[in-house]
Symmetry: C2
Subunit: 102 residues, 2 copies
C-alpha cells in the first residue's frame, strides 16, 4: 500500500469556493482506480493543513495525479487556494493499531 502526504498552506481567501473545490476533489479521488481512503486536517488560524491519501500502488497515484479533473484542480489550487504545498509519496512497510477495550 502507498500513501500520499499532501501538506499545504492556504491563502485563506475564497473560502466558499475552496470548500466546494475541495469537496469535489474528494469525490473525484474516490473514483480514481486504486484509491483506498483519505483523511485530512487544517488549522483555520495558520492555514496549514495535511491530507493523507492511501492507494494500492504507485501506478494508482500516478493515475490520480494525471487525471484531467485533478490537473484542472491542481491549476486552480496554485492560482487561488495555496501559497505553498509539498507532496510526499511513500510505501507503507508496516502498520499496527491499538484500541481501548470498553
Amino acid at each position: 500500500m502507498y500513501v500520499v502526504i499532501f501538506r499545504s498552506t492556504r491563502t485563506l481567501e475564497n473560502q466558499d469556493l475552496y470548500r466546494r473545490w475541495a469537496n469535489q476533489l474528494g469525490l473525484a479521488v474516490k473514483k480514481s482506480p486504486g484509491y483506498i481512503s483519505h483523511f485530512g486536517f487544517r488549522d483555520q488560524d495558520s492555514g496549514e493543513g495535511v491530507t493523507i491519501s492511501y492507494f494500492e500502488s504507485e501506478e494508482a497515484i500516478r493515475g490520480w495525479k494525471a487525471l484531467a479533473e485533478h490537473l484542472e484542480a491542481q491549476n486552480l489550487g496554485r492560482e487561488e487556494f495555496y501559497s505553498e504545498y509539498r507532496v510526499e509519496v511513500a510505501q507503507i512497510t508496516r502498520a499496527y493499531g491499538w484500541k481501548k477495550e470498553t
Copy 2:
C-alpha cells in the same frame, strides 16, 4: 527517508496533563538518533489527530519506539489519553514541492 504516520483519537480528558506530556514527547523525539522533523494536527471537537514524523531510516524509528522515555509515554498514552491509535511506517519514494512566487 522514512515517515511515521501516527493517527489517534483523544479521550479529551486530562487536557492539561496531555499538553505537558505531548510537549515532553516532542522534545524527546528531537533528541532521538536519526530524527529529522515532525508536525501534527488535532481537531479539538472530534479528538482526532495525526502526527507525522520523519526519520533517516527504519532503524532510527525502531530506536525511537524502544526508547525508555517513549515506552513510558506510550503506556501513559494508552492509559490516559487515547481511545484509539494507528501507526504506519512508510519509506518515501518521491517528494516535490511548490511555492507561490511573490
